[in-house]
Subunit: 374 residues, 2 copies
């Protein structure tokens, strides 16, 4: 039975169901229109329910970063891309969870290829593998065509591994959307060179997987791209808004919080701090702070402790009272869901449903190699 916000214990993430539906539809339509395979990254919501909706709207499969995400999402789809090379004990766990799943994995090192190949042969499994290429973020990925060719060749030489192409994450494109053009052009040129070199080496990339939320709606401008993997678009956040990549009204995730103190002038304290909002900076300057009030975006979470957020009221005439509830649009939605076990689905002022953040968490003591006791 639906209920109102007054009954809710704060802090808790609220998902505006109407806004979520709009965001899901918009990306699905964009991908369909441009014949790009859509493989959303589940890191943002970590929820089976939202992932299932993404699949229903035409996604070809899902992207995950952790073994837990893989485990949970393997009940939603049988086509999963682990965009994070597993090493060590993680290799075994990843393969354990991929029984009925056609698993695809990205790598950027020979060590990862060898460990994965060895484990696949031991288990008589086959996984698809993409070479991760870097186009300017300088995080993961090889930036040299020769390195890409050597990794692709090494994958092909490993029984159990199937070389399918390349992937990249254009995380260096975080500028306002109006300033992205030059970066997209440079990316097109670099991508063209890598693809041509792989062709020449007899290692053509059948799959070319890229994409992020900030540059999501420019992905059709990249020749050769076959697949996009946006994540944040389901909720958007204050950072996405500040980049001009969504409207304020597209922000579907807020953290409901309660004002607990007004003892210090020109500020109030809410019960959402770092442990509810994360301490993510806003990358395009938009007043600073760690989030802003949904209905009063001029008011930011200026400082935080673990369980306290300080709303700076000095630029506002609004004066919330102790006991009032406020909704905070976080700078980075993906961090917020990771901090909670459940999200409430709301329409207007009514709570209609709740969803488990099932893919958060990591280490499973029940999977430890030996019985453990305190």
């Amino acid at each position: 039975m639906p209920y109102g916000f007054a009954d809710i214990e704060t802090p808790v993430p609220l998902v505006d169901l109407d806004r979520l539906a709009v965001n899901l539809d918009r990306m699905a339509a964009y991908a369909a229109m441009h014949q790009l395979a859509l493989r959303p990254h589940v890191k943002t919501h970590k929820s089976s329910r939202i992932a299932a909706e993404q699949m229903r709207l035409g996604a070809v499969g899902l992207t995950v970063a952790t073994p837990r995400e893989l485990q949970v999402m393997s009940e939603v789809t049988d086509d999963i891309f682990l965009a994070h090379p597993p090493l060590g004990a993680k290799v075994r766990r990843v393969l354990t969870f991929s029984g009925d799943v056609q698993l695809r994995i990205s790598v950027d090192s020979h060590v990862a290829i060898e460990q994965l190949g060895t484990a696949c042969r031991q288990r008589d499994q086959t996984v698809d593998v993409l070479v991760e290429v870097d186009f300017g973020m300088k995080r993961m990925g090889v930036s040299d065509s020769g390195d890409a060719i050597r990794l692709a060749g090494a994958i092909r030489r490993q029984p159990g591994l199937r070389y399918r192409g390349i992937c990249f994450y254009p995380g260096h494109i975080r500028q306002p959307v109006t300033q992205q053009e030059g970066l997209i052009e440079a990316l097109c040129g670099d991508l063209h060179n890598v693809l041509a070199a792989l062709d020449d080496a007899g290692l053509p990339a059948e799959i070319v997987s890229g994409g992020s939320t900030p540059a999501a709606f420019r992905m059709h401008l990249i020749p050769g791209l076959t697949e996009i993997r946006p994540g944040t678009y389901v909720f958007n956040d204050r950072d996405t808004y500040a980049m001009g990549a969504c409207a304020w009204e597209d922000c579907a995730l807020t953290v409901l919080a309660t004002v607990i103190s007004d003892a210090v002038p020109d500020q109030v304290v809410i019960d959402a701090g770092v442990k509810a909002l994360g301490r993510e900076p806003i990358r395009v300057q938009e007043g600073g702070g760690y989030g802003a009030v949904l209905d009063h975006p001029e008011v930011t979470v200026a400082r935080m402790s673990e369980e306290h957020g300080i709303l700076d009221l000095s630029d506002s005439v609004w004066r919330p009272k102790v006991g009032d509830q406020v909704r905070i649009v976080p700078n980075h939605a993906c961090i917020v869901t990771h901090l909670f076990d459940a999200m409430l689905g709301v329409r207007g002022d009514i709570v209609e449903t709740w969803w488990h953040v099932g893919a958060r968490g990591r280490h499973s003591p029940e999977l430890a190699p030996a019985p453990l006791s305190i």
Copy 2:
């Protein structure tokens, strides 16, 4: 049965059991020596097992910040201080969990006093209440003696509430320990004035509760203080070390991570990012970054994505290889435990035990006011 690190899926928090024991003993001995009641804040570990050890070593009770922490810790002790005023739906939940617990709550507003008093009368319960006073942090708490007297009087007038004294959190004292003297002196003067004013008003503070980890071992210098509430001291962290409040060897909590990429020169990528380490700044400058390698503290986590941490190797001759495990001392330990469901207890290179981070998490859908379905 104990097992080695190679079998562990990363990232995961490791607690060095020997170092933890030293940290627990040191604070217990300090409090005993100076006849200060020790009421540790559980926010740092959120673990029943460590809380029980704190009680065994002489703590008078525990301090908590959230209803979940209260719920879990009510099975460890019957004497709990909720140092975070509950408002709205939280008031009811807090009282529900305090059946056998002598609950103490801090307030700094008349609204909190009225809501708490009303709920206590409805449930025929009595709670102890402290007035929160601010001595310079400018977060919570009244800074004026007159305000403190008015709140104390309001508490006394509410049947169900029992006025017991004051509390404060000296969170503004974060300087290196060698530079704290002036701030401690100022605090002593301000505290003396507030206590004298309450005495004169016929509202003497029986309990004077304060203390934090950075200034923990100076608390005996504050006349009138009856109780301390340090939290971080159980683990310490890179920030505590940078302030000079512990030795590097006192850092008991590390995050075990695996090197997953060395594709970009002068750096390697580990599988611990914001979702494993948090994005907490180091407040006393010590090379920047979001954590440092336990055995190579010159190497910091210079940049992060959600599931990636970039180790900057430019100031080190050490060159970890893909597949190697590393241990990261986080800037802020309290954030790390909040990000995981379990911690592994280690001695040397052997995992001896694991503990559930039982008090993390918040909203309990099972406690929602109405049945919920998807």
